[in-house]
Amino acid sequence: MQYSDSLVPLIIIFMAMAGIFPIMLAGNKPSLRSKFIVGVAVLVFVTVAAQVPAIFGGQVLTCTLAKVLPGAWIKLRIDAMGLMFALVASFLWIFTSFYAIGYMGSLKEHAQTRFFVFFAIAIGAALGVAFSANLLTLYLFYEVLSLSTYPLVAHDQTEEAYAAGRKYLTYLLGSSIAFILPAIFLTYYYTGNLDFADNVRSGIFSGAVPPNVVRLIYVLCLFGFAKSAIMPLHRWLPAAMVAPTPVSALLHAVAVVKVGVFSTTRVMLYFFGVETMDSLGLGMPTAYFVSITIIVASMVALTKDNLKARLAYSTISQLSYIILGVALLTPQGISGGLIHIANHAFSKITLFFCAGAIFVASHKKNISDMNGLGRLMPFTFGAFAIASLSMIGAPPVAGFITKWYLFLGSLEAGQVGIILVLVASTMLNIGYFAPVVYRAFFASPMAGKSGEGLREAPLIMVIPLCCSAFISILIGFYPDFLMTFVKGVLG
Amino acid sequence: MDAWLFEIIGKFNYWIYVVLMMTGFYAMIRKNNLIKKLLGMNIFQTAIILLYISMGSKVGGKIPILDKEQALAGAVQVADVVNPLPHVLMLTAIVVSVSVTGVALAVALRIYKEYGSIDEDQILERIGKS
C-alpha cells in the first residue's frame, strides 16, 4: 500500500458542500436550479470516479486538515472501502437528483431550495464519512449528516413530520453522543490514537489494552452508530418515512443508513481488526445478535400495508446482512457484507423510486390499493419486480451475489445457525415482496375504483428507476468491478 | 471555666467581631425587609473593618506619625507604634462599603417606586400578580 498526500478528498467534499451556493442563488429559477443540482452531482461523481485507477493501483490518498489533539487529527483518506461507498453514493446522487426534481416538481412541494441545499450537504457529509481517516473525523461528518438530514425528514412541517424529526434526531444524536463520544474518548485514553489501521487484520488495539475495555468500546460502537438501525435502535427509520420519497430513497436506502453500516463495518475492520475481534470472541455474538434484527424486521415487514413502511423494515433487515457478513470474520463473509453495501443500495433505491412514482401517479400508499396497477404502470412495476428479486437474492440480480458470499462465509466459519437464518430470511423476503408484485400484475382492480386516466409517472422519474434496476441486473452478471474494491479491502 | 473566660476576655475584640458579623450575616440572609438587609450588610462590613483594625493595634501603641530623621536612624521601636497599614486598607474598604450602600439604596428606591413596597414577600406577591 502506498500512501500519498493529496487534496483530492477535501476537494470532493468541498465540491459537494459548495454546491449549495449556486443552488441557493438560483433559488427562484427552478429550471436553472435543476441544472445546478444535476451539475454538482455529476461533477462530484466524475471526480470520485477519477480516483478509481489510483486506488486500484494500491494507492491511498491522505489529507490532514487540522492537528487538533496530539495523535488525533482531522484527517481524510481515500482507500478501497471508502471509495466504493463514495462511488455508490455519488453515482446514485445523480439519479436521485433527476428523480427528486421530477418528484418535487410534480407534487409542487414547498421550500424546494431548502430541500436541495440540505440534500447536497447531506451527500457531502456522507462522502466525508467515506473518506474519514480516523474515528474523530468520521464522527464529525456523521453528526453533520444527522443534523443536515433533519430538515429533510421534517420537510412537510406537519405535526407528524416534526414528531418523526424529533424521533430521528433523538435516536441518532442521542446514541452517537451517548455511545460514540465515550468510545472515542476511551480509545484515545487507552491507545492515544484514533486512526484507522492500514489493513483489516491488526486493528489499533494492542495487547496492552484490557480486553474488557476493548469489548466495551466495541459494544459502544455497535450501538452508537444507530444509523445502521440494528434493533432495538431502529425505530427512527420507519418514522423517517414521512419524508418526501426522494429523501427516503437516497437517504434511507443509501446515504444515511449506509453511512451507519459503513461506519460500523469500518470500525469493525479497521479499528478493531479481524484478529482482535476473533481473539476477543466478538464476531459470532455480533452475527447472532444482528440475526435477530434480520428475522424480526422481516416479520414486521410482512405485517405492513404501507409500501414505504414495508420497505423501511426491509431496509432494517437488509442492513443487518452487511454487519452479519463482516461479523463472520471470514474473507467470503466480509466480501458478502461489503458488496451488499452497493447491491442493496441499487436495489433498494429502485424500490423507493417505484414507491414514489406510484404515489405521484396514483396517490396510493398502501399495498392493498395497488391491485392491477402493474398493468397500468408496467415499467415502474417491472423495475419493482427486478429489485424485489435482488432483495430476495435470486440470480441473476445483484442480491444473489451477496447471498452467495454470505452462504460461503457461514460455511467457512462453520456456522449452521447463520445458514438457517439466511434461509429463513430469504423465505420471509419472498413472503413480503411477492404479494406486492402479484397484486400489481395479476389481481383484478377493486370494484368501483377504475384505473381510468392512470399513467406512468413523469419520464424524469421513470428513467432513473429503470436505470437503477438495470444496474442491479448488471451487477448480478458482472460483479467483478465491485469485487476489485472488496479485494482491495481484504488486501 | 477559667480557661474559657480567659479565652473570651483575652480575645474580646475578636469575639465582638464574630458576634457582629454573625448578626449582620443573619440579617442579610433572613430578613425580608430590604432596608434591614442593607443594615445587616453594613454591620457585616463593619465587623470586618473592626477585625482589621484590631489586627493592627498594639497595647500601648502610639500613633504612627514618625519623625523622618528618627525613623531613618532606626530609633523607632516597631512595637511602640500601631501598624498603619490595616487602617489604610480599611479606609479603602470603608469607601467601598459606602459606595455599595449607596448603589444598594438607589436600587432599593427604584424597587420601592416600582412595587410600592420594600418587603420581599410583598414584592414577590405583586410580581406574581402582574
Binding site: 487538533v68 496530539p70 464529525l140 453528526e143 444524536l173 | 438587609k37 467601598v96
Partner: protein, 494 residues
C-alpha cells in the same frame, strides 16, 4: 517589552469612561466612537502583551514605581495575559451588540450606561493582572458595583434582581476580604508572591485553612458555583441586553480565574490537594452536583435567557471540577474551557440580544419562524449550540475532551458521567429551541416584528454574529497548537 503596556490596556477604557460620560452629556454621538476606540486600542495592546509574555516569559509591572511587596504589582504570566486578551476581545465584540441594544432600550442614557460599562471592563482587566491580594478585593468590588448598576438599569424585575445580587455579591466579597485579613494576620504582607513565599512554613496552622475556606467560598459566590448561584439567573435575564452580553461571558469566567490564582499563586498545589486530602474529592463531587443540578433546572426553563443562565451555572461546575481534578489534563481543560465558555456564552448572548432587538422577546415560545426571519443569527446559535454540546470540531469539544481525560486520570468517574450527562441535556435544550425556531406557519406569524424594514437585526450586531461562530470553529480546529503553545504554558505547574 515596553514596560508601560499592561497599564495602557487598562488606561484606555478607564479614561474613555470619563470622556464618554462628559462628552455624552453634550451629544450622544460621542458615546459609540469613544467606547469603541478605547476598546479597540485596549484589545490590540493586550495581544501585544500576550505575544511578549509568550516570548519572554513572566513579567511584572510595579505601579507608580513602588517596588513589590510594598507597592502594587501587576503580574503578567501566560495565564493572566491570556485572560487579559480574552477579557479585552470579548468586551470589544460584545460592545458591537451593546451599543445598538442600549440605544434602543434606554435612549438618552447611553453615556451613563457606557461609562459604567467601561469601568467594569477596566475592573475585570485589573482583576486578571493584579498581583496584590487587597488590590484584588478593591477591583472585585469595582466590577461588582458597576455590574449592580448596569443590571439595575433594566426594566421590570431588574432592580430586584440587582438587589439580590448586591447582597450575595457583598457576602462573597466580604468573605474574600476576611480571608485576606487572616493571611495578612499570619504573614504581614498582601503581595501574592510574598504571601506564597511565607505561607508554606505555616501550612499546619488552622488559620491558613480558615483563610483558604473564606477566599475560595468568596469567589465561589462570585462565580455562582451551584448551589451559591441563586443571584445569577434573574440578574442576567432582567438586565439590559447590553449589560448581560458583557457580564455573562466574562464575570463568572474571571472569577474562576481568581480561584485558580488563589489556589496556585497564593497557595500551592501541595496545599490545595495534599494537605486536606478529602477536600479534593468533595469539591469534584460538588462540581458534579453543580453540573447535574444546573442542567436539570435549565430543562425546566421557558425563557431563553434563563435557560442560558443555567447553562452558564452548569459550565462553572465544569471549570471548578476541572481545576480540582488536580492533574495536568484537568487544569488544561479548565483553563481552555474558561476561554471557550466565555466565547460560547458571548455567542449565545449576542444571539439573544439580536433576537430581542428584532422581536422584543426572549421567550422560547416566541421564536417561531426565526430560522426564516433571522437565518444568520440562527446559524450563529447553531454553531454555539454544537460547541456547548461538545460536537467536534467546535472548540467546546476540545476543552471537554481534556476535562474528560483529567476526570478519567483522577478516577473521578462521577465527574466524567456528569460531563456526558450535561452534553446530552444541552443537546435537548437547544434542540427544543431549534424546533420552535424552525417551525412556522405562513398564515399566522406569531412573531411580532417591531420593525419589519430592518434587514435581520441592527447592522452593528451583524459582524459579531458572523465573527463569533467562525472563532468557535477556528479555535476548535487549531486546538492542537493552541493547547501546546499557549494553554500548556498557562497551566500552573503541579
Amino acid at each position: 517589552m515596553n514596560h508601560n503596556l499592561p497599564v495602557l490596556v487598562l488606561a484606555f477604557p478607564l479614561l474613555a469612561a470619563f470622556a464618554v460620560n462628559l462628552l455624552g452629556k453634550i451629544s450622544k454621538k460621542h458615546v459609540a466612537p469613544w467606547t469603541l476606540a478605547s476598546l479597540i486600542l485596549s484589545a490590540g495592546t493586550s495581544l501585544w502583551v500576550l505575544k511578549d509574555v509568550l516570548q519572554n516569559g513572566k513579567f511584572s509591572y510595579t505601579v507608580g514605581g513602588w517596588m513589590a511587596p510594598y507597592g502594587i504589582e501587576l503580574v503578567l504570566d501566560p495565564l493572566s495575559a491570556l485572560m487579559l486578551v480574552m477579557v479585552s476581545w470579548v468586551a470589544l465584540i460584545a460592545t458591537f451588540s451593546a451599543l445598538p441594544s442600549i440605544k434602543k432600550e434606554m435612549p438618552g442614557r447611553e453615556h451613563l450606561f457606557f461609562s459604567l460599562y467601561l469601568i467594569l471592563i477596566c475592573g475585570m482587566m485589573g482583576l486578571v493582572i493584579t498581583g496584590d491580594a487587597f488590590n484584588l478585593y478593591v477591583l472585585l468590588e469595582i466590577t461588582s458595583i458597576t455590574t449592580y448598576g448596569l443590571i439595575a438599569m433594566g426594566k421590570g424585575r431588574a432592580p430586584l434582581s440587582s438587589f439580590n445580587y448586591i447582597i450575595m455579591g457583598t457576602i462573597g466579597a466580604c468573605f474574600y476580604l476576611l480571608g485576606v485579613g487572616y493571611l495578612y494576620l499570619l504573614t504581614g504582607t498582601l503581595n501574592m508572591a510574598d504571601i506564597a513565599s511565607r505561607l508554606p512554613a505555616l501550612y499546619e496552622s488552622p488559620t491558613v485553612a480558615t483563610a483558604f475556606c473564606f477566599l475560595i467560598v468568596g469567589v465561589w459566590i462570585k462565580m455562582a458555583f451551584f448551589p451559591l448561584h441563586g443571584w445569577l439567573p434573574n440578574a442576567y435575564t432582567y438586565a439590559p441586553k447590553g449589560a448581560s452580553v458583557l457580564v455573562a461571558p466574562l464575570m463568572t469566567k474571571v472569577s474562576v480565574f481568581l480561584m485558580i490564582r488563589i489556589m496556585f499563586s497564593i497557595y500551592s498545589p501541595e496545599y490545595d490537594f495534599l494537605m486536606h486530602l478529602g477536600i479534593k474529592n468533595l469539591v469534584v463531587w460538588a462540581a458534579t452536583i453543580a453540573i447535574v443540578g444546573a442542567s436539570l433546572i435549565a430543562l425546566t426553563q421557558k425563557d431563553f435567557l434563563k435557560m442560558l443562565s443555567y447553562i452558564v451555572v452548569a459550565e462553572v461546575g465544569y471549570m471548578v471540577g476541572g481545576v480540582w481534578l488536580a492533574n495536568q489534563e484537568g487544569l488544561t481543560g479548565a483553563i481552555f474551557h474558561i476561554l471557550n465558555d466565555s466565547l460560547m456564552t458571548l455567542c449565545f448572548f449576542l444571539v439573544a440580544s439580536a433576537i430581542a432587538y428584532r422581536t422584543g422577546s426572549s421567550r422560547i415560545a416566541d421564536f417561531r419562524g426565526l430560522f426564516q426571519k433571522m437565518p444568520l443569527t440562527m446559524l450563529a446559535l447553531s454553531v454555539g449550540a454544537l460547541s456547548v454540546v461538545g460536537v467536534p470540531p467546535t472548540c467546546g469539544f476540545f476543552s471537554k475532551w481534556y476535562l474528560l481525560l483529567g476526570g478519567v486520570e483522577a478516577g473521578q468517574w462521577e465527574f466524567v458521567a456528569a460531563l456526558i450527562f450535561s452534553s446530552i441535556v444541552n443537546a435537548v435544550l437547544f434542540y427544543r429551541v431549534f424546533e420552535v425556531a424552525f417551525s412556522h406557519s405562513e398564515e399566522e406569524p406569531s412573531l411580532k416584528f417591531e420593525n419589519s424594514r430592518i434587514l435581520e437585526t441592527s447592522p452593528m450586531m451583524i459582524p459579531p454574529l458572523v465573527v463569533i461562530p467562525v472563532v468557535l470553529l477556528v479555535i476548535g480546529l487549531s486546538a492542537g497548537p493552541l493547547v501546546r503553545e499557549v494553554i500548556r504554558l498557562a497551566v500552573p505547574a503541579l
